[in-house]
Symmetry: C2
Subunit: 873 residues, 2 copies
């Protein structure tokens, strides 16, 4: 193996400084390529007339980024030095091919000739195509030295046209220009946006690699290629790449000619192929990660140009990490740090076949893009109401529910649909929350949709979609696609949930299982789930839930005939009538809880008492009002008067949570009774249940005292009646800033805390997540960047995080063994979960499908705490 | 002067312990009466048959409280000892008069005979009245010894009936019972509620005074009375009180017989009167406060029974404090600590004549009670819309605006009305805020009102009030009264605002002026005002404002034709159209600001940029929609679509404040231009203006950076155009919890902070003040006492206060000279203002009419900080 590394342009490199005549530069860290570096000085000199040095200048960033200047080849050419190249090679066509390549690449990436506002097409490509057409050439390899020389002149004229200046002839000026362009490109918009998206720090910066040229374009005895040490899509341990004969590096990726699969190198240059196989091993054993590398074959001789960690899909990331750990190349800890937790989702979600998706793009069927709230892929016929979703699904239709937004009464319709698409709301809107908990594919905040509920139609871009039309939604990307696309269920789910496949039959399941095992051995915090129903609970256990962190009792209020009984309770004139209605709800709730306790077994189950304002349960339209009045035997006016009476200006900050329980202690009493009776029943069945009763929206210690007294009184009654005692706790959500600030006092009463960071974020920011859609896009835009991220998706550590830390510290100051968790949506967000680890919580709780992500993120947090490894980006 | 103090029942008192046979009691601090105590032991003994000791037992609390046991007289009597009294006095009628008084008082206050659930009337009074009727007696003085003896038997039977037990005959048991009752009464509901209302600490506790009896009921040679050293209503320095011949203490206050004015004592007992005049001086020189004392004349000899600081009206409190300071009895600091800041309001508000009010009570015309949000008294004809209020007022009618609640578009109607009465909303609702700022009488949250807007009528209790009917509202008490009551403007306002009276002509103005002068010499914080208009500003200056702390620019958006221009701006399709509409608003806003700057002169003026969500400016009914569409030449559907588009679930947490300015920088730019152009104009007129531009609802430093950049850019333009430079600041409201938590970062940009504690309280508590009415009454009720006070009226120091302290500390950590104030409604609440002093703010800002209160409270805070004096309750 040989290689021709010449200059690594970093501070320690003396030769570069010599080359630049002693001009210093303050440069960032450079990629370590880990390969032997051959003698640096070829004896040639930049700008030398007789035997000129030509250089390639490329970015040395740790990761390549869209928009960043990648490479300028053949630097050093001008009308004088080109003669030197001709003189030393005897190949004018080669010399002018290099020259025209240089002018166009330099003009493109350094001078920005294609970035003007009113330029269409590519000023260099257009001229090349014109030349090819004029000469009847199919490929540029068919152009002659004269053709190419003329192209150089035309390219330079194009530079003059678009930039107003002459193309720089001085090789040193060329070099400085290229180096500046590399550094400058670190800060360009697309690179910045990319770093933001993937959480790459701005201060990493880039290095610049300056190398002497080797040439793949000397003729058919030369070539160039790009390859990966493993398959970057599937992660399979196989050589994977492409090459071209008689070409320079950019030709492979530019797609002008169709490259050949790298394995065919074996036929063309068997020696080179054998050498590459050896290098592939060396690279992996040196770099201990899958490598993406470039090579050039100059007159049959292999030169390595660069190598870097290769980009890969989530599925490949997992497989490569596990395989490398199994091979002993890396430790399991390192494997854990190789996987972005979100990548696990790719193992857990139904997906569209890539071919179908590509076709949709080509056919222009992608009509809108919203926020990808529930990952996965779904196709279905459009319906516009929860009732329709239920009805259509009942007759076997596959439907997508499209609405402006959803509310708790849409739950059953959402459950019946394949996916949910809303025009309004953010990543933690009702639709998004419920969808993720249900494992539904969901896109929210798709503001390009113009929904006409009456006409049962929506417009998106130039398309009009009617009720019953097929659409598809991609919950990974937020794309809304016309027509039906096939989906396929991932094997991991077939093994875990559907049990339609055995673990050993699955190719991918073992990767999931191995990562999860390593994660569980490493993490120090527990993982619970947010679940309201037995089937959700059992899914959650399959995903690794160690308990329920949030069971929302109000979701149980919407099923079947229950809603009428709930309304009867709300419309009751007095406490006696209210208690009569509550008595009807009691057995229903008790059965719900018993079902959950049976599934969860000895795992702790945290049940939150009623939280939403009562008006959410009342009818919102005339038909529903009429039905309610009829069902309850009262006048419609009474129903309407109640709706009006309960109306609130800001329901988020209204009569809800423990404020309801304090006004109507009989509601809390009924719920406590349902929970504890169910617990006693299941306890008698031989299961050691551990209910934890959680009082929501506490801001003042006395609120919790008041509600705790109700629960304890009921508990004493129930245990006496049932003749059995259950181990239960009473605790509270910390979701109001005041609760965090006075956590020391609240912990005098609370046996556990659960941070409700959804509401805590709303109140700490003074932002309603239901309304934030109006300004959130601008706030997180790269232009404004007022918020570094959507605070409802990733916990705002700077602000909200302070309240969490204050709450934990003060809570434990009065109750040192206080059990503390989080049950907001942040419990399934990797960065937020890591914060929970650092803040000293005992567990996180998230929706069932987020559990694997949380397990992995918690393991990473534990590893990061040791300070040796960081998550690799 | 002689007096017969025998036992002061506190721990240091040996004689009491002897009396009780060595039984110890753990007792609270006792009232210091400050009078010489004559020899303690009369030689008589409790329960002695021959010459029995009779005692009075009374509470020794520092302040008397409703519901507290006050006094039991003649204790020690039973069927045996009554004979001893007859033997030593030779007056059976007197002995039985004492006996029946004792049984009824003891039965009432110690045994609780009148507190059973199903008892109507008074069990003792009823029997007394029956006896008087049977004997044809007009007064109890006409009953014979036998009549009274029979009453004793009947009273004892009544005790047996109501309590089921016998009346205790053992004098020691009687004494212990009375002592227990006094201690127990400290904790009864009414006393607790009273302490809560007046901020008296629960841990003060009460002492018990036990005295030997002296008798005012031996016949016409005896009597009893109650007097004040000064007039407790007016504060005038005159002897003031009442007495009765042949009576015991309780007869005077019970109102059975009509007492005579104390000055008539001079005719009846000239020596006693002279002695009392001397005692009056002694008491004041000893106690150094106005005293409320009881006395008894036994056979022509004066005995003092007790003295305590007298309750007084606010007007009297001020006058007495000032007069005593002028007399040299107390220092000006002590005078300042004698006045509850709220009492100042009584000098500043129109009031109902007390006679008219009394008549209304007697005639049952008080029909409802709400929250007294705007002090004062007003009568007017009922109207139900702001438009009607304007129209009726324009034709010379005096109107009261009655609504469920008010909104910014009601401003002009509110201004036209004498007062505002709303069924909904709390002490800081829109109606309450604006009313106080306007100085309007206002009652809010009067939930007993059942308003039918369509029928233009409301019901309250048994009354139906139609549009045009006269009602009166008392903004001191929250009472709603049928009919028209005369009001009178207080002199202080005639001097300060109306200038219809010269200071030296007013009897009361000098008291106000003197207190304010002392307060200003003492306080260390500035006082600014919240004002939006020149006339408000000039009122505020009259009240002592040293600047404007909050000028809300949006209030200027509702006047006249402006609202249509505002709507044109909101309905604009693009930035160009929006800027065109803003250009029309610019001169209007500029004139507004110029007017304010001219009035305020060199005082700083803090102007807040646009804060409310835009939908507040759009039409809310069909007529208004039609008018808007016509005026702007667009379709009604466009208007309706915009209204729908801007609708928010929780507008409080929605698209408002700086979030608007960030979305539409042209709005901020227009407002900054209006402020700074006006400032330049007035500066050129020779006034050194100091505008402070305040960006609302900042939660993240970048928001403030963004808006500050807009302001500074405009400022540079304006100063260049105008050829003059104005000294201005750019700062922010701290009204979002996150802003307080990250105040160190925000202070890197902000030149001043103003705590917006209204919103800060809403977000820290997670409570919308517009919706809190549903549970606030229960939360502050004595039964629940979840909140010690309404946090919107008095700053919650435990929770919200922490954020204020954090915000101040962190803000000054990066900008040590940061100017910090408060501009929420709390800036006019005495307790909150004192907190602002302790927290280290530079100034408070409040509505004009609250300025005197704030000045006084700040003086008290400065005095309290020195640690020598506390506010006297």
């Amino acid at each position: 193996m040989s290689s021709k590394w010449v200059y690594q342009f970093n501070e320690g490199d003396k030769s570069m400084k010599n080359l630049l005549g002693g001009k210093g530069a303050n440069l960032a860290e450079m990629t370590s390529i880990g390969l032997p570096v051959p003698p640096g000085d070829t004896g040639k000199k930049l700008g030398d007339v007789a035997d000129p040095l030509l250089l390639s200048v490329r970015s040395g960033a740790r990761a390549s980024m869209p928009g960043m200047m990648d490479t300028v080849l053949n630097l050093g050419l001008n009308d004088t030095t080109v003669e030197g190249v001709i003189a030393t090679t005897g190949n004018p066509r080669f010399a002018y091919d290099c020259y025209r390549r240089f002018v166009s690449m330099y003009g493109d990436v350094v001078l920005g000739c294609n970035e003007g506002g009113d330029i269409e097409g590519d000023v260099f490509e257009d001229r090349l195509e014109a030349m090819k057409k004029a000469k009847g050439a199919a490929f540029d390899t068919e152009l002659t030295a004269d053709d190419l020389k003329q192209l150089v002149a035309e390219y330079k004229a194009a530079v003059k046209d678009t930039t107003g200046g002459d193309f720089p002839d001085d090789p040193r000026a060329q070099l400085w220009g290229a180096i500046s362009a590399v550094f400058g490109s670190w800060g360009n918009d697309r690179a910045v946006a990319y770093r933001r998206m993937y959480g790459i720090p701005d201060d990493w910066g880039t290095a610049v690699n300056v190398q002497t040229m080797v040439y793949g374009n000397t003729g058919d005895e030369s070539g160039t290629g790009v390859a990966f040490t493993r398959n970057p899509a599937s992660g399979e341990n196989e050589f994977y790449g492409e090459f071209l004969v008689n070409a320079q590096g950019e030709d492979v990726v530019a797609g002008v000619r169709t490259p050949r699969p790298a394995v065919e190198l074996e036929e063309v240059w068997p020696d080179v192929y054998a050498q590459l196989m050896e290098i592939r091993q060396t690279l992996e054993s040196e770099m201990r990660d899958m490598q993406d590398f470039e090579f050039t074959i100059e007159k049959g001789r292999l030169f390595m140009l660069q190598t870097r960690n290769g980009k890969r899909t989530g599925i490949a990331a997992i497989r490569i990490a596990v395989d490398m750990a199994d091979q002993g190349l890396i430790t399991p800890d390192q494997a854990l740090m190789r996987i972005e937790p979100e990548q696990l989702n790719q193992l857990l979600r139904p997906i569209f076949g890539p071919e179908d998706k590509l076709r949709a793009v080509e056919e222009g069927r992608i009509k809108a893009k919203g926020l990808p709230a529930g990952p996965g892929a779904a196709s279905g016929r459009v319906v516009f109401s929860a009732a329709d979703a239920e009805a259509w699904a009942a007759r076997g239709e596959q439907v997508l529910l499209v609405r402006d937004f959803t509310s708790p009464k849409d739950i059953r319709g959402m459950d019946a649909a394949q996916g949910i698409l809303t025009a309004q709301g953010g990543m933690t809107s009702h639709a998004a929350l419920v969808a993720r908990q249900m494992g539904k594919v969901c896109i929210v905040g798709c503001s390009a949709l113009d929904i006409d509920m009456k006409a049962r139609t929506f417009k998106a871009d130039d398309a009009t979609v009617n009720e019953g039309d097929w659409i598809s939604i991609d919950g990974f990307t937020g794309e809304v696609i016309l027509g039906q696309l096939e989906t396929r269920p991932p094997e991991v789910l077939q093994v875990l949930l559907e049990k339609s496949m055995k673990a050993e039959e699955s190719g991918s399941y073992r990767y999931y299982a191995e990562i999860m095992e390593w994660a569980d051995n490493t993490r120090t915090l527990g993982v619970r789930t947010n679940a309201d129903q037995p089937d959700q609970s059992s899914d959650a256990i399959a995903f690794g839930a160690e308990g329920i962190g949030l069971c929302r009792t109000e979701h149980m209020f919407f099923g079947g005939e229950r809603i009428m009984t709930v309304r009867e309770m709300i419309l009751a004139d007095d406490k006696v009538a209210r208690e009569a209605a509550l008595a009807k709800l009691l057995p229903m709730q008790r059965d719900d809880f018993a079902g959950i306790f049976r599934v969860m077994g000895e795992r702790p189950v945290t049940v939150r008492t009623l939280d939403p304002p009562l008006h959410e349960f009342l009818p919102h339209d005339d038909i529903d009002t009429r039905e309610t009045a009829t069902a309850l035997g009262i006048s419609e006016d009474v129903v309407r008067a109640k709706v009006e009476d309960l109306h609130e200006s800001n329901p988020m900050l209204g009569h809800r949570g423990c404020r309801l329980g304090i006004a109507y202690p009989e509601i809390t009493a009924m719920q406590a009774r349902a929970i504890l009776e169910a617990a006693c029943v299941v306890q008698k069945e031989g299961v050691d249940v551990h209910p934890e009763i959680m009082i929501p929206l506490v801001g003042v210690k006395k609120e919790l005292e008041d509600q705790t007294a109700v629960v304890r009184r009921v508990a004493a009654e129930v245990f006496a009646e049932q003749g059995v005692t259950v181990d239960y706790l009473v605790g509270t959500m910390i979701e109001i800033p005041r609760a965090a600030l006075t956590a020391d006092k609240i912990a005098e009463v609370a046996e556990f805390f659960s941070f409700g960071t959804n509401d805590l974020t709303q109140m700490t920011f003074g932002v309603s997540r239901d309304d934030a859609g109006k300004f959130l896009p601008q706030y997180v835009s790269e232009e404004k960047e007022i918020w570094p991220a959507d605070p409802f998706a990733t916990l705002d550590q700077e602000g909200v995080g302070q309240l969490v830390e204050i709450g934990i510290e003060r809570g434990r100051s009065t109750r040192p063994d206080l059990k503390i968790g989080i049950c907001g949506e942040h419990g399934g967000d990797p960065e937020s979960v890591k914060f929970c680890h650092r803040a000293g919580m005992n567990y996180v709780s998230c929706s069932p499908f987020r559990i694997p992500v949380a397990r992995l993120a918690l393991a990473q947090a534990a590893i990061e705490e040791r300070g040796e490894l960081t998550l690799e980006k």
